[in-house]
């Protein structure tokens, strides 16, 4: 079955460093990958979307890459801040009708002072 896999271990980094989160997909060729942020007790919040024919997308301190050869997306937060601490979800879509998404389990990021 199609899977979106993210590192289940929390990522701890120091404030000001770049955080890099990895998302791999298997048995699947998503046309789009989306990244969401989820805080405890809240619903996911959309951050960025990248298409399979785009190599890279940026928004402020965020950057996402999409490598169809490696079947992987990387999500970067530059100049990280404690407020960036959250769980980040990688989500795939095959672009079909209904906008049905396949979610990864998320990676928890902790940014320490």
């Amino acid at each position: 079955s199609q899977k979106i896999e993210q590192n289940s271990e929390a990522l701890n980094i120091q404030e000001g460093k770049t955080a890099t989160l990895t998302c791999n997909y298997t048995n699947y060729s998503p046309a789009y990958l989306q990244w969401y942020r989820q805080d405890p007790g809240r619903g996911p919040v959309f951050l960025l979307l990248i298409r399979e024919n785009e190599k890279e997308k940026r928004k402020e301190r965020l950057k996402v890459t999409f490598d169809t050869t490696l079947k992987q997306s990387l999500f970067h937060i530059t100049a990280s801040q404690p407020a960036d601490s959250a769980t980040y979800l990688c989500v795939g879509s095959d672009g079909g009708g209904g906008n049905k998404l396949t979610f990864g389990t998320g990676t928890q990021l902790k940014v320490e002072l």
Binding site: I4, P30, A31, Y32, Q34, G41, R42, G43, P44, V45, F46, L49, R51, L89, V91, S93, D94, G95, G96, G97, G98, N99, K100, L101, T102, F103, G104, T105, G106
Partner: protein, 115 residues
């Protein structure tokens, strides 16, 4: 923030009782979705709706039914709740086109415990 309200936010009930969760949106979006989120799993789609009275099953639809009689409301019903349905339930909406290039906007969830 997208106008999505889920109710109730928390509920504790007993096995075998019926439970209805409500999702209300003020964005006039065509697509609405119900997900459940459990430890060790990504969000999993239960049912979705692509218009009033138009619904379809998702990945984990057994034991759940839905109804959408108005654009703004999408109800999820557990006809006879079981302990395996203890979870956090999220409602989401997306704009009309309904293809994968549309983000989904989520409510803040309902934490449901079935004893």
């Amino acid at each position: 923030d997208a106008g999505i309200t889920q109710s109730p936010r928390h509920k504790v009930t007993e096995t075998g009782t019926p439970v209805t969760l409500r999702c209300h949106q003020t964005e006039n979006h065509r697509y609405m979705y119900w997900y459940r989120q459990d430890p060790g799993h990504g969000l999993r789609l239960i049912h979705y709706s692509y218009g009033v009275k138009d619904t379809d099953k998702g990945e984990v639809s057994d034991g759940y039914s839905v109804s959408r009689s108005k654009t703004e409301d999408f109800l999820l019903t557990l006809e006879s709740a079981t302990s395996s349905q203890t979870s956090v339930y999220f409602c989401a909406i997306s704009e009309s086109k309904g293809s994968g290039n549309q983000p989904q906007h989520f409510g803040d969830g309902t934490r449901l415990s079935i004893l």
